[in-house]
């Protein structure tokens, strides 16, 4: 099969529009996230959390809330997630997770005798640990970013390293914004936790891969077509790698979509974030990474020309 012919789309000339569009989506999304609030997982907030499942789904959120209030957990935060009848209960004070969860399960079971109440998980993270986890994640990610810039800058040019990071941030941020907002629907559990961080890391890796492939083509074409203007060179390279970009993207998306639908409680949220990320990553390798290089080069050149004029 060979679906994608040699193409000659003009990606580059519309770059500013897409650039703006991406910027707007990210900014508006970020504002929305701050308005609606980020659902941080227990890993980063600290506290105690219990997840329960009513196997026959006879209890409503209000029922559970009432039962919790009777137990003395009136301020508990309640959220349904995943399959119907599954609830995540978060108690602000930290304390004995196994004790609290046993208490909650026992009293819920007593209250809903016709149903089968099961504990899916219980976590208790002290504030001290959660801040350490957050700090550890931030530190390792920062160093990883620096390593990426340095390597890409070394193999290509410095501006390509910066462009990779711009594309990376763009992808991760947009996937984050979409996941954070999507989490409000309660369809999947997309809280920002250590596990979902792994999903963002995957997006990061995929995004690097995509950018590097396009840059590699630009590097090659620059030798082949000496004297071709950069914008044209970039456009040619994007077109030449387009079939690879789309086919890889399609293959990976099919795999991820399978996991979204049948991956189970643990994998589905994770796969969803990656799914969003891969779509954005594919888009950004066409419109963001390479466009940034053009924008940067032209601005610098423009400046230099300006300086010459002044002199």
């Amino acid at each position: 099969m060979d679906l994608i012919k040699q193409t000659n789309f003009d990606f580059v000339s519309k770059r500013n529009k897409f650039f703006m569009a991406s910027l707007v989506i990210n900014v508006v999304g970020l504002i929305a996230v701050f308005v609606f609030g980020i659902d941080l997982g227990i890993d980063f907030t600290g506290g105690t959390q219990v997840t329960v499942a009513f196997r026959k789904n006879t209890a409503t959120a209000d029922d559970v809330r009432g039962a919790l209030a009777q137990l003395g957990f009136a301020g508990a935060e309640l959220k349904s997630f995943g399959k119907p009848g599954q609830f995540l209960i978060r108690i602000n004070k930290t304390g004995n997770a196994s004790e609290v969860s046993a208490q909650i399960i026992a009293s819920l079971q007593e209250k809903f005798q016709n149903d089968q109440v099961e504990m899916l998980g219980a976590d208790n993270v002290e504030k001290k640990v959660s801040s350490e986890l957050a700090w550890g994640a931030a530190k390792s990610l920062t160093v990883a970013f620096i390593v990426i810039v340095l390597y890409v800058a070394f193999r290509f040019e410095f501006v390509y390293g910066v462009a990779t990071i711009v594309a990376l941030l763009h992808d991760v941020l947009m996937a984050f914004v979409i996941s954070a907002l999507f989490n409000k629907t309660g369809w999947l559990n997309l809280e920002f936790s250590l596990n979902s961080l792994a999903a963002y890391l995957t997006i990061l890796g995929y995004s690097i891969n995509d950018s590097v492939v396009v840059f590699d083509r630009i590097r090659e074409n620059r030798e082949k077509h000496k004297g071709m203007p950069l914008a044209e060179l970039v456009n040619l390279s994007i077109n030449e790698t387009l079939s690879r970009t789309l086919i890889t993207g399609a293959a990976v998306l099919v795999a991820l979509l399978t996991m979204v639908f049948i991956g189970g409680d643990v994998l589905e949220g994770f796969a969803f974030t990656m799914f969003i990320g891969v779509i954005i990553g594919t888009y950004s390798s066409v419109y963001i990474a390479a466009s940034f290089v053009i924008w940067y080069q032209e601005r610098v050149r423009h400046k230099r020309v300006g300086e010459v004029k002044h002199a």
Binding site: D2, S140, N209, V213, D216, G264
Partner: protein, 685 residues
């Protein structure tokens, strides 16, 4: 050319063999585990199964791929030594004043949510107050009484507390015979515990938080102990007539047992002898009730008649061969003869379970406890009854009442005896404790006193003379390591190793099971989709890429198994990413080859050009990911590390499978004389 071809075949076949070799135990384990759970309902069948397959099962278990708690369910706990509590507790209680409490509180407030070193902060705050540490702390065991010595002692205590907590927890958790328990030190102040397959998390939590109890008890190795052991037999036999099914067939159901006299054993023996003889019709009224039976059958019946004492091996000085306690004739036994009892490591849990039964407890004499040593011994020539390669532990009879509890100990440290140069442990006691200790040691000269922590005997030295001032020296340690552990244990009396749970996670078994099932299924199906997709789009070329892809996943998991790594959910994410990159590498190569073919090159040169031109993009993207994985591996926490490991391994393997391996396969095809290969390119007319 021919050799070259052989090399290529080897390149393809050897990794497959390696992967199969490494993954075999995992397959074997799940196979055996399934068999085992099928027979597990019947305890006799299970025992038989364990005897037959136990070794293979354990071997497979230890070499299989380990799944993280997020995938299999279980409990994860991080403990931290509460340094401030430790400081507070080790200060002299009589000299503690408001000023001291204020400094402790201030330090607690300052270090609550930061990772400042607690001890350093305390010392800093203390220095600021202008007081001397010597006012609150006493240092023993050194001539040099300075503030620095106090600081060093506190540091030592803090470090020792982690070891102490670990030692205590390991013993306690071992009791549950859970599989794959992981207890490890994290940094200097923390202990991480992973417990898969936990049934009752609350019990475990309690177990972790109970403070250890250190006691000194008199050792009672006498006839009473042996009698008590045989009495336990009677109780057990009365409650559960037969332990294994073969014995059940022959056991006389009308067996009557009176458990309140020491003679009961003899009666029971005679009784079962009667039952046996009626069945076998031979060896009537023989002194040996099992005479005339085949050896195996006799052993089996002996076990059934002595459900408890058959586990305990008796050994006395001058005895040629050790024997089970159940076989002893107590009527001829001297009152206070020295002897040693042993139990095989594999029987300990069964033994403890029996001793904890209510009916057994009731039957035991009130002033005697049966306790087991904490550390195993080298199984020298004790041979005959317990196989040589098994761990053996000593069984002690100790007085129920403790002579002294460990809180009188002020300091304990490993040392060397200046004359013999053997490792010893020195121990100091408080004034009050030393007084009692003098009396106790005075009463028990040439007798043994056991050091018991949490119901396990760590050592049972013989008192050489009266110790007047509490300064004692314990010898008899085989090496410095043993001495260090004993010092840690003795300090458990002085310090209660104040540990707090700072992180606790419980993953319910149902979530674990669901996660594995749907995780494996969905991963499998998505792989199948990718494989189909590649086959459809790239035809034969896709098939070659698919082989490489499968090998990539297999080798990644095999490598993880070989390093003893754990597969977690983020680890799966890492595998997905590296799989995606492996697919991408092949897509890059195939698109290039197609381009070259379109440009009119023949197969051989199109392949060559395709690989060499795609190489720079592949190496750069994979290397960038590898380099990004390294800081994540070094500084990341748990899940991030899990991701980084599989990503790192996977990308390294991608370079091998997606490039080297597929190329070898293509070249083998070319070498076999093919002039064209279908990689799904458009037919050029």
């Amino acid at each position: 050319m021919k050799q070259n071809k052989l090399g290529k075949y080897l390149l393809i076949i050897l990794p497959v063999l390696a992967a199969v070799y490494l993954m075999w135990p995992t397959y074997r384990f799940y196979q055996l585990d399934k068999q085992r759970s099928e027979v597990s309902a019947d305890s006799a069948a299970l025992e038989q199964w364990d005897a037959d397959n136990g070794e293979a099962f354990n071997k497979a278990r230890s070499a299989r791929i380990k799944l993280g708690l997020d995938l299999r369910g279980g409990m994860y706990v991080t403990l931290e030594v509460d340094i401030l509590k430790l400081i507070d507790e080790s200060a002299d209680p009589t000299s503690k004043d408001d000023e001291f409490t204020k400094i402790v509180d201030q330090t607690r407030a300052e270090t609550m949510n930061t990772d400042l070193d607690v001890l350093d902060t305390f010392i800093k705050n203390f220095k600021g107050s202008g007081k001397s540490l010597l006012q609150y702390f006493t240092v023993t065991g050194t001539q040099d009484v300075t503030e620095q010595a106090v600081i060093e002692k506190l540091k030592r205590d803090a470090d020792g507390a982690v070891d102490q907590a670990m030692e205590v927890l390991r013993q306690r958790i071992n009791k549950y015979s859970l599989s794959d328990v992981n207890i490890q030190k994290q940094g200097k102040r923390r202990v991480l515990i992973e417990l898969p397959d936990v049934k009752d998390e609350r019990e475990i939590r309690q177990l972790i938080q109970t403070t250890a109890r250190l006691e000194f008890k008199r050792v009672l190795m006498n006839k009473d102990l042996l009698t008590a052991i045989q009495m336990v037999d009677n109780v057990m036999r009365g409650k559960m007539p037969a332990e294994d099914s073969v014995a059940a067939q022959v056991a006389d159901t009308s067996k009557k047992i009176s458990a309140d006299t020491a003679k009961a054993t003899q009666v029971a023996k005679a009784d079962s002898a009667k039952a046996d003889t009626t069945k076998t019709d031979s060896a009537k009224k023989s002194k040996d009730p099992y005479a005339g039976l085949p050896q195996e059958e006799a052993a089996r019946r002996f076990r059934a008649d002595h459900p408890f004492s058959n586990m305990i091996i008796f050994n006395a000085e001058g005895m040629k061969q050790p024997m089970p306690v159940g076989a002893l004739d107590l009527s001829a036994f001297p009152e206070d003869a020295p002897f040693v009892l042993y139990v095989s490591g594999k029987d300990i849990n069964r033994m403890m379970a029996i001793l904890e039964r209510n009916d057994v407890r009731k039957a035991m004499p009130g002033d005697l406890d049966i306790q087991i040593s904490a550390k195993s011994e080298q199984n020298g020539q004790k041979g005959a009854v317990i196989p040589l390669d098994q761990q053996i532990f000593q069984v002690y009879g100790v007085a129920h009442e403790a002579e002294l509890t460990g809180d009188v100990i002020t300091e304990a440290w490993p040392n060397f005896d200046p004359t013999s140069n053997q490792p010893v442990v020195n121990m100091e006691m408080s004034t009050e404790g030393a007084e009692k200790w003098a009396q106790i040691t005075g009463r028990n000269i040439k007798k043994r006193i056991a050091v018991v922590l949490d119901g396990r005997v760590y050592t049972a030295p013989t008192v050489q003379n009266k110790i007047p001032n509490g300064s004692s020296q314990i010898s008899g340690m085989a090496n410095t390591e043993e001495a260090t552990i004993l010092a840690v244990v003795l300090k458990a009396g002085a310090l209660k190793a104040p540990v707090t749970i700072i992180e606790e996670r419980v993953i319910g078994p149902s979530l674990g099971e669901d996660a594995i099932r749907s995780g494996v299924m969905s991963t499998g199906i998505s792989m199948a989709f990718i494989i189909l997709f590649m086959l459809m789009y790239y035809s034969w070329g896709g098939g070659i890429a698919d082989i490489a892809l499968l090998m990539n996943v297999l080798l990644t998991i095999a490598a993880l198994t070989a390093f003893g790594g754990t597969l977690t959910l983020p680890g799966i994410a890492g595998i997905i990413l590296s799989t995606a990159m492996a697919v991408d590498a092949n897509i890059l190569i195939f698109e290039r080859i197609r381009e070259e073919m379109r440009a009119g090159r023949n197969l051989k040169s199109a392949l060559e050009q395709g690989y060499s031109k795609a190489w720079s993009a592949i190496i750069d993207s994979n290397l960038t990911n590898m380099l990004a994985a390294i800081p994540l591996l070094i500084w990341g926490t748990g899940p991030i590390q899990g991701f980084a490991v599989t990503l790192l391994v996977g990308t390294i393997l991608t370079l091998f499978t997606a490039v080297l391996l597929t190329r070898s396969m293509f070249e083998l095809v070319v070498a076999s004389g093919a002039v064209s290969i279908n990689i799904g390119q458009r037919k050029v007319a």
